[in-house]
Symmetry: C2
DNA sequence: TCGGATCGTCCATAATCTTGAACAAAATGA
DNA sequence: TCATTTTGTTCAAGATTATGGACGATCCGA
């Protein structure tokens, strides 16, 4: 049974004329004639009695007409329901993101979202620590994902900790530090915030240390910091999620693994007071699921890959 | 929206596997994959979230699944309803027919019926006046159509009258009789019944005549009688409906047109006591409509066609 | 860790459907 | 009665869909 054939049949039956139906619905007569023929063959019954040029519904045709109308109505209802599900999940989603790991997980998370809701346009604004953003621009955002250390507003999506990493080639050359004090003898690749160099705050149980290693490599871009670390230029202080792939591939090795920063929350908050739309509900749902245990992201990921000669870099993040 | 695509979608969704659905329902994986793709394109929405090799229904997919099940159920209901309408109008219809005009209108009527109900097999038994039929054979018949002069059992379908006809070439050669007595001077083509030659019983108002013209052409087959008449061999006594086409085409001309036989009823009666089935109801309905005013039969018809040389016959009825 | 099995997707070819044009029949108006 | 218009049906060419086979990715067991 063919929906197009049913629709054609209903049109012909209501107008009692194949030619009139063809004209009204802008279809070739031969198409309607053939569809009718196929429907009759499919059902193995005559739907019309051909009397001269008149098409008169048979009893079977009258029976089918009632059912066909219902089926077509149900198809429209299905289409409308599906459209309603995805219709709100359309338009533009304006996301603000603080911090610098947008590409590491914000972009991936948004891609995972887009895979499910391909009609949503995403406008992502990173509030780079190097560029102060105007507070009023919040008004145009739907949500802000922030990375902070304290208990801020919004819903916690995840937590992450900073830890120390270096390439295995560095460790071979300079050894593995045994305690935070040993870091003073090591080369750090340090991140510069707008307020100054970032201290490596480490804690283990109740013990806390704050280290600022000597460094000849300083950058205000975490991607560059990681790049240099893979290149064997020193030790870097980076979020664990940010180095997951490099560790998997053996391009970075965790150091002083039981020392790490305090947990930092990744949270999201809706910026505008509005009725919960399907779009926002869907987005929040995807955000929660992205960070839930067991979720496996399938899609492109950025990472630094060291080839045989670590002094020959391949390709890192492009800002 | 494609019913096959919806059906494929439901199968895939229920099994959570495209390959399993392909195996279970005997369809190629590529067919299911393509149908799913087309459905998603048609609805402009992702129905499944591809997670590794897992297919997980999206919210839109879950919404569609409910609707799709309903649509498919409605299609099955429509198919069943139509089948029920025509299913009873199937099987075998065993018709007995008295008299000799089966092909003239019984066969045509049955063809008109078959056009509407193509699944009915028809077994037609003519009770030729030359062959006595066993009374017990009635038991195997569903209905008997009879042609008689009196008020017999059954439902009257039509009435018909016998009248006189000859070819125009005969009339040109031998003149047009003005009254029944003139028929004695004419050549008749006479029908022989099992009981003897058929008298031409004519009446006009209260006046009645019974004529047995001289004839050198006698046959026990009405089709042959008509044939000879068209060939110009004489005057024939035939039912008006039986010569309608020849008269239309000018191959026969009515003679003494206001003289005709008494009306003879064509009636039908169901032979077996049984609950009115759809098949019998449908058949009776078609029989009534066939004889109703205004009904125009569209289909093959037998008639004698005189070509330029009336001595060269084309093709008549084959018994 | 690796080889084999299974998965969903894509491609080139075969099969089917759609469509413009043609046709025969019916209906209409002069 | 005849010419014209309109109807529903059919045909051949082009467009679209279905399918077997190939492929890359994933999963599982040794």
């Amino acid at each position: 049974m063919n929906i197009d054939a049913l629709a054609s049949f209903v049109k012909i039956a209501e107008l009692r004329s194949l030619s009139a139906a063809a004209k009204l619905y802008g279809l070739p007569k031969s198409t309607l004639s053939l569809r009718l023929k196929q429907l009759e063959a499919d059902l193995n019954v005559a739907l019309f009695e051909r009397s001269g040029r008149n098409l008169l519904l048979t009893e079977a045709g009258q029976t089918l007409l009632k059912h066909a109308r219902q089926i077509l109505q149900n198809c429209d209802a299905a289409r409308a329901a599906v459209s309603e599900v995805s219709e709100d999940v359309a338009g533009t989603l304006r996301i603000g993101a603080t911090g610098e790991f947008g590409t590491a997980f914000y972009a991936q998370m948004l891609i995972a979202f887009r895979r499910l809701y391909p009609n949503v346009e995403i406008e992502l604004t990173f509030f780079s620590p190097n560029v102060l953003y105007a507070a009023e621009s919040f008004d145009t955002l739907d949500a802000v994902i922030s990375w902070d250390e304290g208990d801020g507003e919004g819903e916690a999506l995840s937590t992450a900790t900073f830890a120390l990493f270096a390439s295995s080639s560095y460790v071979e050359r300079f050894g593995q530090p045994q305690q935070p004090a040993d870091l003073a003898d090591h080369q750090g690749i340090v991140y510069r915030t707008p307020a100054g160099l970032q201290h490596w705050r480490l804690q283990k149980g109740a013990a806390q240390e704050s280290v600022l290693p000597r460094s000849s490599l300083i950058a205000n871009d975490y991607w560059t910091v990681k790049y240099f670390a893979v290149a064997g230029e020193g030790i870097a202080y980076l979020p664990r999620f940010f180095t997951a792939i490099e560790c998997e591939r053996g391009h970075l090795v965790p150091l002083l693994d039981d020392w790490a920063s305090a947990e930092r929350r990744v949270s999201i908050r809706l910026t505008r007071p509005h009725a919960p739309s399907r779009k926002m509900s869907a987005f929040m749902d995807v955000c929660r699921r992205y960070f839930s245990p067991g979720f496996v992201f399938q899609g492109p990921r950025y990472y630094v890959e060291a080839i045989f000669d670590p002094t020959q870099p391949k390709e890192g993040k492009r800002t």
